[in-house]
Amino acid sequence: MNSEIFNHRFFVNFRRYRFLLSQLVRRDIKIKYRRSVLGIFWSFLEPLLSMVVLTIIFSTLFKHTISNFPVYYLTGMLMYQFFAGGTNAAIRSIKSNSSIMKTIYVPKYMYSLSAILSNFVTFLLSMIVLFMIMLVTNAPFTIYIIFASLPILALLLLTIGLGLILATVNVFFRDIEHFYGVFLMLLMYAMPIFYPADIVPANFRFIQYYNPLYAVIQCCRSSFLYGTLYNPIHLLFAMGSGIVALLIGIAVFYRYQDRFILYV
C-alpha cells in the first residue's frame, strides 16, 4: 500500500527531478549575488542596513510603545520580505521560463517552487542578522525561539500556495503581475511592521485579525522579542491558511498547467 503511494507519478517525477530543484535554487542565489564583491553577504547586510535606517527614523517616534525597535522591526520585515519576494518570484516563474518549457518536459511546478525556495534560503540566512541584533540588544534567548519554526513553516506553505495560484493566473492575465506589486506595498503599510499595532484605529483592526501573514509575525515576535509562547490561535490560523492556500494552489496549478504552453 505504502509503496503504491510512493510509486505515484508525482513521487516518481519528484525523485527524478530532485536534483533539478536544487540546481534551480542554487542558480537563483548564485546569479543574484554574482559579481558583487560582498556576494551572499548582502543577504545579511541588506536587512541590517534597512533596519538601521528605519531605527533612526522611527525609534524615537515610537520610543514609549515599542521597547526594542530593531528586533520588533526585523521580525516583521524579514517575514514580510520573504512573503513578498517569494510570491513575486513565483508570479514571474512560468513566464520567464517559457522558452525552456516549450522545448523540454520538466514538471512545471519546479520553476515556481524553486523561485520560492531560493527566497526561503536567503530568508533563513538573514535570520542570522536577527540573532545578532537580539544579542546586541539583550533580547531574551529562550526555548520559545525553537517554537518559531512552526509559524515559519506556516509562512512557507502560505507563500508556496499563493505563489502557485498567482503564477497560474498570471499566465492568462498579465495584469496581475503589476497589480500585485501595488498590493504588496499596501500590505506592508497596512500591517504593523514598523509601527505599533495599537495606533491603528479600531475599525481598521480587521486588517490585523484576518491576516495570516500578520499572525505569523505576531507568533515570531512572541518568540524572538518577548521570549514567550505565542497565542496558539494565531498559529492555528496561520497554519490553517497555509494549508488551505497550498491545497488550492496545487489544485489550480494542476488544473491549468497543460494550457500554460499555449499562452506563454
Binding site: Q23, R34, I104, F173, D175
Partner: protein, 247 residues
C-alpha cells in the same frame, strides 16, 4: 510479439489562432459580456493514431507545417494533446533543441549540471559523465568561462555533448544533428549514427527522404495534421516523393 513502447490514440491538437490575444482581465470581461470572445481554432493534428514497438525506427515525413514537430513535442511530453491519448513506456531522450535552458551567466561546468538536471539526469550520473562530456565537446580550456562568452558553435557543441551523453531507450530526433565546424560535424554525425545504431527505439523527423530511408524501417507521412500513409520506410518515402513531384 514485441512490446509496444509508444501508443498514440486518436490524438488531436488544437491551437487558438485568434488575432488579438486577450490577456488582461478587463478586456476578457468586456469581451465575455459582449460575447466577442472569438476563438479561431486550428487543428495542428487530427485523429492521429499509431503504435511504435520496441526497437522500431519510425521516420516522419511531410511538408512544413504538417504537424511533425507538434507530434514530437506531444510524445516528448512538452505539450498535452487536446484530444486522445499518448502512452509512452521507457525513458525518452528528446534531442529537440540543444542547450535549452542554458544560463548565459553560468560557466560551462555549471551549465552541464543545470542542463543535465533539466534532462532528468541525477547528480551522480552527471558527475560520472562530466569528464566524457567535456572531452567530447573539446571545451576543456573554456569550461570555467561564462557561457555568454562562448561562440554559437561552442554552445552547440556543449549542448550536443550533454544531450548525447546517455544511451537512450527512446530517441526523438528533429533532423540529424550535426553542429560546429567540419571536424566536429563529422564527429557528431558519427555519434548520432552510433546512438541510432544501438538498441534504441527511434522517432525521426526529417526533410531528407534519403536520411529517413537510411535510418528508419518504418515511416509515416503527415499532411495537414493527418496521417496519409503508414508503412515501411521505403514505400512511404516513395509515395511521398512521388506526391511532392506532382505538386
Amino acid at each position: 510479439m514485441k512490446e509496444t513502447v509508444i501508443k498514440v490514440e486518436n490524438v488531436g491538437m488544437e491551437f487558438n489562432l485568434s488575432q488579438e490575444k486577450v490577456d488582461n482581465l478587463k478586456e476578457y470581461v468586456i469581451k465575455f459580456i459582449k460575447r466577442e470572445l472569438r476563438f479561431q481554432p486550428f487543428w495542428a493534428l487530427k485523429n492521429v493514431s499509431f503504435e511504435v514497438k520496441k526497437g522500431d525506427r519510425l521516420g516522419i515525413v511531410g511538408l512544413n507545417g504538417a504537424g511533425k514537430s507538434t507530434l514530437l513535442k506531444l510524445i516528448a511530453g512538452v505539450m498535452k494533446p487536446t484530444e486522445g491519448n499518448i502512452t509512452v513506456k521507457g525513458k525518452i531522450s528528446p534531442l529537440l533543441s540543444l542547450g535549452a535552458g542554458f544560463d548565459p551567466d553560468y560557466t560551462g561546468r555549471e551549465n552541464i549540471f543545470l542542463n543535465g538536471a533539466m534532462l532528468g539526469y541525477s547528480k551522480k550520473f552527471l558527475e560520472s559523465k562530466f569528464k566524457g562530456i567535456v572531452e567530447f565537446s573539446e571545451l576543456e580550456e573554456f569550461i570555467d568561462v561564462p557561457l555568454k562568452n562562448y561562440s554559437n558553435g561552442m554552445r552547440a557543441r556543449l549542448g550536443f555533448s550533454i544531450a548525447t551523453s546517455v544511451q537512450p531507450e527512446i530517441l526523438i530526433l528533429d533532423e540529424v544533428l550535426s553542429v560546429g565546424d567540419i571536424k566536429f560535424q563529422e564527429k557528431s554525425y558519427k555519434k548520432m549514427e552510433s546512438l541510432i545504431g544501438g538498441n534504441v527505439t527511434l522517432l525521426f523527423v526529417s526533410h531528407s527522404v534519403d536520411q529517413v530511408k537510411k535510418f528508419c524501417d518504418k515511416a509515416i507521412w503527415l499532411h495537414k495534421g493527418q496521417i496519409m500513409t503508414h508503412g515501411s520506410a521505403e514505400d512511404v518515402c516513395d509515395i511521398y516523393t512521388e506526391w511532392t513531384r506532382k505538386k
